[in-house]
């Protein structure tokens, strides 16, 4: 299964999944959300964004939802994405993995952040 492709989970894919944790978003909103949650360090271009979306979509971590709620005047239909339950699970696993890593970094006095 294409799941292999996401092991280890690429940063872009993880960020996209995180951005969808609060609610459904369309492509551009995901990009802005990722930009915001990384303090502007990660700006996904259309290619990376949609390729990553496709990859996590294929892995069943997110799903497409009908964007009918966004049918404002003059706006064409946009695709919205939602985090699936398995996606949420994987995101949690990934976060825990990173937390473990952080713990080690802290013990080794490489990372001195007090929070997180």
């Amino acid at each position: 299964m294409p799941r292999r492709k996401l092991d280890p989970l690429p940063t872009a894919a993880f960020q996209i999944m995180l951005s969808l944790a609060d609610g459904d978003l369309h492509g551009y909103a995901i990009m802005r959300q990722v930009e915001a949650q990384t303090n502007g360090r990660m700006r996904l271009g259309p290619g990376t964004l949609y390729s990553s979306i496709q990859a996590v979509l294929e892995a069943g971590l997110i799903e497409e939802v009908d964007g009918s709620s966004d049918q404002e005047a003059g706006h064409e239909r946009r695709r919205y994405y939602r985090l699936t339950s398995s996606g949420r699970k994987l995101a949690r696993t990934e976060a825990e993995r990173l937390a473990d890593l952080l713990r080690v970094a802290r013990v080794k006095k490489i990372f001195r952040g007090e929070y997180v």
Partner: protein, 349 residues
């Protein structure tokens, strides 16, 4: 304008990706263009996009697009069964690249095989190596064995005989000996003639036995003579159909015969094309003619229509008189005399 550029760049992505996300990617680009104003931000946007292309395209090609296209197909037909034919699918650039690579690989394999096949063909490149075997003891025994086997092949295949080369031998003292009954048609015997000349390359002197040569194709007469010169020389040809036939095509690539002594054996039976060969090499002081005065034949057997021989003289110079030998001996003794002279010439060198 920039939108156009971007949509062109989007074409680098796989067709499936464009089909799926092309519109949205363009929409996203438009959104960003709208939101990010100012020269610096525009510049940053483009840098972003270029980096995005570099990292996004490989990923886009890795995706399979299976699940989503399936649902999409389902949606478009809304319950009605349809057949999605491959013909309607645009050719993916990946397939084109793979096809190209596969084509090149096949071609390379073909060339490799052909090159190897040539090594076992009795009358092409192998002759060069073949010639070395009897000529000296330089080559290793197994190479020699292969060469001998190939030589057998030559003999058994009758190629030489078919092309009127009655004998191709190495005589004591590393003298190459060729006896031919006819200068054959270059159209069918050029390769064999070249192989013979290649073989003679390995010798120290050459004897052409034309005592029983009835004539032949003037083109072949000259083709063989080409090997004996290191520069083009005027070539007398009463039947020349074009000015090119009045000069030798020398040097022949790979020829090492230009400075080797040549002896031509003649008899009163030496006829037509063979007389032309003898006459030219004698006049050009390239060969020593040993034997008897040639028959002095006309070119009665010409196949060239008269209109095409306008350049030439109506009669060959030797008509009626024949070509006189440099060393006059009986035809039956000509070979022995020729060998003695050749040995002397080799020693003198």
């Amino acid at each position: 304008m920039s939108e156009k550029i971007y949509s062109l760049l989007l074409r680098l992505y796989p067709a499936r990706f464009r089909q799926q996300y092309g519109a949205e990617a363009l929409q996203l680009f438009r959104d960003r263009l709208r939101d990010e104003r100012g020269l610096l931000r525009k510049l940053l946007l483009w840098i972003d996009l270029l980096i995005d292309f570099a990292s996004g395209i490989p990923q886009a090609y890795r995706n399979t697009y299976t699940t989503t296209t399936a649902t999409q197909a389902w949606q478009t037909v809304s319950g009605l069964p349809t057949f999605r034919t491959l013909e309607e699918e645009p050719l993916r650039p990946g397939s084109v690249v793979m096809g190209g690579l596969f084509g090149i690989a096949t071609l390379a394999l073909f060339i490799l095989v052909m090159n190897h096949a040539a090594a076992y063909h009795p009358f092409s490149g192998s002759i060069v190596r073949l010639g070395a075997a009897p000529a000296g003891s330089r080559s290793s025994p197994d190479v020699q064995a292969v060469a001998e086997k190939l030589e057998e092949q030559i003999q058994s295949s009758n190629q030489l005989q078919k092309c009127s080369f009655e004998k191709l031998e190495m005589h004591p003292g590393n003298i190459g000996y060729v006896k031919l009954t006819w200068f054959p048609d270059p159209a069918s015997c050029r390769a064999v003639a070249d192989a013979v000349m290649q073989r003679l390359n390995e010798t120290d002197a050459v004897i052409f036995d034309l005592r029983d040569t009835r004539g032949g194709y003037p083109e072949m007469v000259r083709l063989m003579a080409d090997w004996f010169f290191d520069h083009p020389v005027a070539w007398y040809n009463p039947r020349a159909a074009s000015p090119e036939q009045l000069v030798t095509d020398s040097p022949v690539p790979g020829s090492r015969l230009a400075d080797k002594p040549v002896f031509v054996l003649t008899s009163s039976r030496t006829f037509s094309g063979a007389e032309q060969f003898a006459y030219n090499l004698k006049t050009l002081k390239r060969a020593t003619i040993v034997g008897e005065t040639t028959s002095g034949a006309t070119h009665a057997g010409t196949r060239t229509p008269p209109s095409q021989i306008a350049l030439s003289e109506p009669k060959p110079i030797w008509e009626g008189t024949g070509v006189q030998p440099d060393v006059r001996v009986d035809a039956d003794d000509a070979l022995r005399t020729g060998e003695d002279l050749a040995l002397g010439a080799i020693r003198k060198k």
